[in-house]
Structure formats: structure tokens, C-alpha cells
């Protein structure tokens, strides 16, 4: 009885506060500060919600909301199916079989990631358009009536899937390569056939990895603006732009964003829930490599085509179309300035990737060191930016940075210094925005590699008298290196492609390739947009290939 009394006291308010005082350390404070810093734009948007919806909210609900919901659901559903078919089948075949050009195709399959999806959209529209290559081909064959109209909802789903499936491919393949061998052998020993092994064993096991990739795809799908606008499909994101800019009602846009965010949260919760249900994936990396089978006869060609098809559709066709356009417009568009802009884009992307990854590392490790469990949960809040459209984040960043700037100007003004805007309209604001937007992209690969490092390893270091920071540099970092570099590369690629945020926040006289491409495309000079687009693709391709090397080594 006495013991029970003692322990009741252990969780009385007084002792809790006492413990809180004991356990709050600098890491807790830092984590909170950083989470707050990263969530600030989102908080500012959230505050707008309390202002109530704008006048036109009723109008949106009456005429448009159903359309937004319906189209977004349609895209989520159709893209999920397509992306899973393309991503999982190709991942399985390249990790299980050996066939013609397998090694090359393994990294070619990641390349669609290097092309912004709106550019894929333009390329396909041009390809199937009246007077486009496909149309001309059909005319040659006397099949004029066969003109394929791609500019509709189904076409949009196709374009988004074909440019985003590598997210699923990459995570599924990593699973198949790292974890699968023992299980495959066990299954073989039990005399289970190839197909059954795949559907009954590998697919359920790989599910958390696949779903993690799928959630990334769906966030991108829901955030797409360029392609949806061009294809005339109303989605939440086009709706946000419409109510913000055409109806001049930021509050209404914020309400739509909030709805979209709920939608995305539902997806994230779904992922969490289903990963929790399946715990067996946390097993350590399996060191023995998968033994690849050599398919024969018709099977060989079937597998080859299944793997080649996504490369053809997601990379070769759009790039071919872009190259064709580039060739016919090169004389009017290309100049040395492109080299400069490419370098600028490259520098901005690499810098923001490093900064974003730095934030992700800090968040992951600081929250680990801050012994308060609540802090660990809070740190996840910093990742929400990925769920919010770039334009909305840009506005969310302008509000606080401008306030800060005005304050600084006042202070400096007292000293007789006319400083002008210090943060806004400079690279600092842009980097800040990228960090907020892409933290999740950096967080996930780092977090998942960090999970593979057994806690006892950093713990031993601490017991041996080495503090947190030094332990991180000497022990943790070397062990999670691949995750960190994957994160840098993924953010790099995303920044290279990013548009609405960059448009609003970029400083004077700094152009990025994406901005350049958009400028042309938005003025219906899709052909002229091909040259900056190709530059984006080639700049992003180099790290994509590098990323592939990392993943294989892992």
C-alpha cells in the first residue's frame, strides 16, 4: 500500500513539474525554437483561419468545391493505381531479374524525377496536339481520326503518374535489394512459385516502403499547379490560386488550403497507421545481395518491356519532344545567359539542399537528445510544410519576414542607417522558404537511416564520456551518411524544379531555370520553354545518377 502511495505521488503535478525542470535541457529549447521557426509560416496562415472565410466562400461551396474534391479524389485514386503499377513492377523486375540493359535501366528509371511534371504536361500536350509528332504520324498512316486528346483529367493523371512514379520505384527497390534475400530463399525452400512469392510475401512486406513513396507522390499530385491549370482540371491547388488572385480573397484561399491540408493529413495518418500495423520491417539491413534470375524466351521480352515502358513514357518521349522544340527554337532563345542562369540555379539548389538537410538533422537529433517525449512528437510538426502549396508558404513567409525587416529598419534607422529590406527579397528568405517547404523531403531518408542505427551505439559513446554533439560527428554521422546524401540530392532536385515559391520570393537579378521555363510557358511559348527545361533536366540528372549509386551501395 505504501508503495502505491509513493508512486501515485510520482505522477502528481508537483513531481511532474519538478521532473520537467530537471529534464528540460538546451536541446529541448533548441528543438522547440527550430520547430517554431519552421512552423512560423504555417502558423501565420493558420491565424488567418480565425478571420473567417471570405465573402466568396459560399460561392466556392456552391459552384466549385464539389468539383475540387471530386477531381482531387480522382487524381489521388488513378495516380495511386498507375504509380503502383509502374513503380512496383519495375522495382521488382530490376531487383529480381537480370536482363538486357538492366544496369542502365536501373538508373534510367529514376530520371523522370528530373523533369518538372508541368513540363512533362506541356511536352505530352505538344506531342499529341494537332500538328504534333503523334498527330503527324497518324496522318501519315491515314489515321487522322485517331487523334488522342490528352488534355483532360485522365491525361493529367497519366502525366503526373509518369513523372512521379520514381518515388515509389526508389523506395520499393531499396526494400527489395536490402531486405528481400533471406525471405526469398525461405520462400523458395518452401516450394512457393514466383508469382505467389511476390504477391503473398514480398508485396505485403514491402508495403510500408511502397506506401511511404506513394504518400510523397500524392502530396506532389495534390500540390501540382502548372499541369492541372494547363489541362483545364480544377483541383484544390488551382482553386487556391483562383480564390487568392482572381477573386482577391486570401481568406478563402486559406480555407481551401486548410481543407487540402486536412486531406493530406488523412493520407499521412493512413501511412502512419499502416506502418504501425506492420512492425516487421524494422529488421536490420540484410547484407547478402539478392540472387538475380535470368529469364528466358518470351518472359525475357515481357520483363524488358515492362521495365522499359516507364522509361520511354516518363523520360525518353518528353525529352525527345523537348529536344525537338529546342532545336527549332535554339537560334532565337539560346544565349550565354543560360549558362549563368544554370550556374545560379545549381548554386541556389545545392545551398538550399544543404541548409534544409541541416535543419532536418538538427530537428531529428536535437529532439532525440531532448529527453522530453512530448518534444519528440512536436518535432514532427516541422515537416508539415511539404503538404502546403508553395505559393501559400511564400505568403506565409512574407508576413513574418517583412515584419522583422520593418522592425530592423526602424532600429537601424535610429542609428542613421538606411538598410532597406534585409531578409525579404534576398536569398535568406528564399532559403528559409525552401527549408520550410522541403524539410519532409530531407527528413524522411535521414530518419529512416537513423532508425537503422541501434540506439546502443550512440549510447555506448555517451557512456564512454563523449557528449551529444561529439557523438553525432564521430559516430552517428558516419553511420547515416548515405541517408544524408540522399536527402541532399532529393532536396536539390526539388528545388531545381520548384516554381511558385521561387517566383514570389526570389531576389532581383537572380533567375532560376524553372522561372525561365515558366516565363516562356506562361506566355504560350511552350516551344521556347524547352531550352531552360532541358537545362533543368540535365542539371538534375547528374545528382540523380549519383543518388542511384548511393542507393545501390546501401
Amino acid at each position: 500500500m505504501q508503495q502505491a502511495g509513493n508512486n501515485n505521488k510520482a505522477f502528481s503535478l508537483k513531481t511532474r513539474i519538478k521532473r520537467l525542470k530537471r529534464d528540460i535541457n538546451k536541446w529541448s529549447v533548441f528543438t522547440l525554437a527550430i520547430v517554431f521557426f519552421l512552423a512560423l509560416p504555417i502558423i501565420f496562415i493558420g491565424v488567418e483561419l480565425f478571420a473567417g472565410p471570405g465573402e466568396t466562400w459560399g460561392h466556392i461551396v456552391d459552384y466549385l468545391l464539389l468539383d475540387y474534391i471530386w477531381n482531387s479524389l480522382y487524381l489521388v485514386l488513378v495516380c495511386s493505381i498507375l504509380v503502383l503499377l509502374l513503380g512496383v513492377s519495375s522495382a521488382w523486375f530490376v531487383s529480381r531479374y537480370d536482363f538486357l540493359f538492366r544496369k542502365q535501366m536501373e538508373w534510367l528509371l529514376i530520371l523522370p524525377l528530373a523533369i518538372p511534371s508541368y513540363i512533362v504536361g506541356y511536352a505530352y500536350a505538344g506531342f499529341f496536339d494537332y500538328g504534333g509528332s503523334m498527330d503527324l504520324l497518324f496522318r501519315q498512316l491515314g489515321l487522322e481520326f485517331m487523334r488522342i486528346d490528352i488534355m483532360n483529367r485522365a491525361g493529367l493523371a497519366f502525366v503526373l503518374s509518369i513523372s512521379l512514379f520514381p518515388y515509389v520505384y526508389v523506395s520499393a527497390r531499396a526494400f527489395f535489394l536490402n531486405q528481400a534475400n533471406n525471405l526469398l530463399e525461405a520462400s523458395k525452400m518452401l516450394g512457393v512459385g514466383e508469382l505467389k512469392t511476390f504477391f503473398k510475401l514480398m508485396l505485403p512486406l514491402a508495403r510500408p516502403a511502397i506506401v511511404a513513396g506513394l504518400v510523397l507522390v500524392l502530396m506532389e499530385v495534390l500540390n501540382d499547379y502548372g499541369a492541372a491549370k494547363y489541362y483545364g482540371v480544377n483541383t484544390f491547388t488551382t482553386g487556391i490560386f483562383r480564390s487568392w488572385f482572381s477573386l482577391e480573397e486570401p481568406q478563402t484561399a486559406v480555407y481551401l488550403s486548410a481543407l487540402l491540408i486536412c486531406f493530406i493529413f488523412a493520407l499521412i495518418l493512413f501511412e502512419k497507421w499502416q506502418v504501425r500495423k506492420i512492425k516487421f520491417t524494422s529488421s536490420k539491413t540484410n547484407s547478402n545481395q539478392i540472387q538475380r534470375k535470368r529469364p528466358k524466351g518470351a518472359m525475357k521480352w515481357l520483363i524488358f518491356s515492362v521495365v522499359f515502358l516507364p522509361i520511354l513514357l516518363g523520360f525518353i518521349l518528353p525529352v525527345a519532344q523537348l529536344i525537338y522544340w529546342a532545336v527549332i527554337t535554339a537560334s532565337t532563345v539560346f544565349d550565354m545567359e543560360f549558362i549563368m542562369i544554370s550556374l545560379q540555379s545549381f548554386a541556389i539548389a545545392i545551398a538550399s539542399a544543404v541548409i534544409t538537410v541541416f535543419f532536418a538533422l538538427v530537428l531529428i537529433y536535437f529532439s532525440k537528445w531532448s529527453t522530453l517525449t512530448t518534444i519528440k512528437n512536436i518535432s514532427r510538426v516541422g515537416v508539415l510544410g511539404y503538404a502546403i502549396p508553395g505559393a501559400v508558404i511564400a505568403i506565409g513567409i512574407m508576413i513574418p519576414t517583412l515584419a522583422l525587416d520593418k522592425w530592423l529598419i526602424n532600429i537601424l534607422g535610429n542609428f542613421g542607417i538606411d538598410s532597406g529590406l534585409i531578409i525579404n527579397g534576398t536569398l535568406l528568405a528564399l532559403f528559409y522558404a525552401y527549408a520550410v517547404r522541403f524539410l519532409a523531403v530531407a527528413y524522411n531518408p535521414i530518419d529512416s537511416t537513423a532508425l537503422k542505427v541501434d540506439n546502443s551505439i550512440p549510447d555506448s559513446s555517451k557512456v564512454l564520456g563523449v557528449g551529444n554533439l561529439k557523438t553525432f560527428f564521430k559516430i552517428d554521422f558516419p553511420l547515416i551518411k548515405t541517408g544524408v546524401f540522399s536527402a541532399v540530392i532529393l532536396v536539390f532536385i526539388d528545388v531545381m524544379k520548384e516554381l511558385p515559391l521561387t517566383l514570389i520570393l526570389k531576389p532581383y537579378h537572380i533567375d532560376t531555370l524553372a522561372v525561365k521555363a515558366f516565363e516562356y510557358a506562361s506566355d504560350e511559348m511552350v516551344m521556347e520553354a524547352s531550352i531552360p527545361s532541358l537545362f533543368i533536366i540535365f542539371t538534375a540528372m547528374i545528382p540523380v545518377i549519383f543518388l542511384n549509386k548511393l542507393l545501390i551501395k546501401k
Partner: protein, 335 residues
């Protein structure tokens, strides 16, 4: 040297306790084994002492200094405790030598010290190798060398042998403790294996469901166990429940729990031969030869079943079993 006072830890805000009101102390130079099943709170206790977890209540004092309490917490890196994990936790990207050097980077002649430690654990010549190139036993010895190098005042071994097979285990256990004896360090040795504990520990602490059941020297645990659970940890024990009591017609104190060790049950061919206070006849249902002895499954007159051991080779179908009151173990409560 180490004093644990009313230590409690819960991972679900007080709904259940991984450790509840644990109190004990450790003398310098002692080897104390902590024995308990998995889930008994052994690992939590170790992590609390090492500073890898923070207590919800109670305190830990080491060398007269409070290192953890409700309002004080000394970081693990400041505690000077050596810890060897079950999974060794060697740094996979560092060589053996670098692993051992890791904790003594500020020591003056660290190279010599590290070399000395490697010699001690018999791994000189392997300095340049990486952990994955070593066998499990070798890795364990590296982990030991690494933990001992900074000359900790307390060394904690958390289930250090459970990843090894039985043969290697006994051998390595003896080797490891030979090494440890040379260093005169105080040791807390966590294990779920009573044999491990009995063979090396000065004192044994029994942990069950987060509570300390008994802490004593080995003999006492055998002779005067606090609970039936402790008794059964150190040899097969028969619980004398109401039915057995009636079968043997032995009067026992109410509200207490009684047991008799298997080896104290006397088996004889006739009722007169047996020299014991309580006796009853039994039918042999099954004989299981175990080499040096035979296990008998008996059915008593009252219908109760009982398993006993005997050295006797010629067992009739009906025999007598009994025991003496001096051998009866008595516990306060049934636990």
C-alpha cells in the same frame, strides 16, 4: 559505492511501472548479479544507472554523490560508468583499436593504455581489424576492453553472453570475469541465467515485475528464499498447496505459502524405511531415465500428481514419498 533508493520508472505515465520502488546498495569491489526474466525491468534499471533514462521517482547515488533524483541529473558522459551491451554496440566504422581508444581520447598515454586493454582481453594483433571481421566472442571482448579502458568505477554488463551459444558462453564467462577480477572494478552483471549469476556473483539481486524480490548471497537465496519464485530459480521446487497438505497430512501455518525442494523429497520402497515426518503412498505412472537419476511421475493416494527424482534404479510400482518439516520453506505470501 552505489545506492539506489526508491527508484521508479514508468513508460506510460504511471499506468504501469517498469521499475517500482527499487532500493538496494552495492559495495565497492563487489560483483552483483541482477537476475530476472525478460520484462522484469533489468534493462531499465541498467539504463537508469548509466544515465540513459531518467527516473520518475527515487534517487541514485554513486560514491556519495547523487547522480539522478527528482531534481538532479548527471549526464551519462559524466558518470564514469562502463557499460557492455548485449549486442556489443561496437562502432562499425572504427577499427578495434579506435573503438578502444574512443573513450580515452583525453588520457595522456592513450595508445599504451588501449594496447594494454587489448592485451588484457587477448586481442593484441587485431588492432587494425573492423568489428564485422571478428567473431561474436571476440567482439564481446572488444566491448569489454572498450568499457574498461577509461577505468570506470562501476562496470555494468547487460546480458553480455546471451547472444552466444552454450559452450562458448561458459568459457567466455569465465574468461571475462578473470579479466574483471584483475581490475578490481565494481560490477553489476545483468542476466536471466541463474547459472551465470551463481558462478560469478558475490551477491545476487532478484528482480520480478519491476520489483526487488530479494538480494542476498547465493547460499541464502537457496536456503531462505523470500518467495516461491526465488526458490524455483535455484532448483526445482514443489509448491505445497492445500491438496498436497492433505495428502501428506502435514499441519502448516495458514496464510502462508509453503514449498519443498525437489531434492528434499525422500523416496523409499516401504513406509517404515523412510525417515521422515510426513509420508504417503504413491503409484508410479511414468519413469523417465535421465542418466545419473530417474524422474518419477507419481500419483498420490489422494489423486494428486507429483514429480520427484531418485537415484534408486529399482523402483516398484507403488512407493512411498515424504519429507521433513525442517526442509519446508515458508513464505509470507504466495507470489
Amino acid at each position: 559505492m552505489l545506492t539506489i533508493n526508491a527508484l521508479s520508472k514508468s513508460f506510460d505515465k504511471g499506468k504501469s511501472y517498469a521499475l517500482e520502488n527499487v532500493t538496494f546498495n552495492l559495495k565497492a569491489g563487489q560483483v552483483c548479479a541482477i537476475v530476472g526474466e525478460s520484462g522484469s525491468g533489468k534493462t531499465t534499471l541498467v539504463r537508469l544507472i548509466a544515465g540513459l533514462e531518467r527516473p520518475d521517482n527515487g534517487s541514485i547515488t554513486m560514491n556519495e554523490k547523487v547522480i539522478a533524483s527528482l531534481d538532479k541529473f548527471v549526464q551519462p558522459e559524466k558518470r564514469k560508468i562502463g557499460l557492455v551491451f548485449q549486442e556489443y554496440a561496437l562502432f562499425p566504422h572504427l577499427t578495434i583499436l579506435e573503438n578502444v581508444l574512443y573513450g580515452i581520447s583525453k588520457v595522456k598515454n592513450k595508445k599504451e593504455k588501449a594496447q594494454e586493454m587489448l592485451d588484457l582481453v587477448g586481442l593484441s594483433g587485431m588492432e587494425k581489424r573492423y568489428p564485422h571481421q571478428l567473431s561474436g566472442g571476440q567482439q564481446q571482448r572488444v566491448a569489454l576492453a572498450r568499457a574498461l579502458a577509461p577505468e570506470p568505477s562501476l562496470l555494468i554488463l547487460d546480458e553480455p553472453f546471451s547472444n552466444l551459444d552454450t559452450m562458448l558462453r561458459t568459457q567466455l564467462r569465465n574468461e571475462v570475469f578473470d579479466i574483471i577480477k584483475k581490475t578490481e572494478v565494481t560490477v553489476l552483471f545483468v542476466t536471466h541465467d541463474t547459472q551465470d549469476a551463481l558462478s560469478v556473483a558475490d551477491e545476487i539481486l532478484i528482480l520480478q515485475k519491476g520489483k526487488v524480490i530479494q538480494k542476498d548471497v547465493a547460499e541464502n537465496l537457496y536456503v531462505k528464499p523470500n518467495t516461491l519464485y526465488v526458490a524455483s530459480l535455484f532448483g526445482n521446487t514443489v509448491h505445497i498447496n492445500k491438496n498436497l497438505q492433505n495428502a501428506f497430512r502435514c499441519p502448516l501455518k495458514e496464510d502462508c505459502c509453503h514449498a519443498i525442494r525437489n531434492e528434499k523429497i525422500i523416496v523409499s520402497q516401504s513406509s517404515t524405511e523412510a525417515d521422515c515426518e510426513y509420508i504417503t503412498a504413491a503409484k508410479v505412472i511414468k519413469k523417465i531415465p535421465l542418466g545419473n537419476a530417474t524422474q518419477l511421475v507419481l500419483k498420490l493416494e489422494s489423486g494428486e500428481q507429483l514429480t520427484v527424482m531418485t537415484q534408486d534404479q529399482n523402483i516398484a510400482d507403488t512407493i512411498y514419498v515424504g519429507f521433513n518439516s525442517k526442509d519446508i520453506l515458508e513464505f509470507d505470501q504466495e507470489l
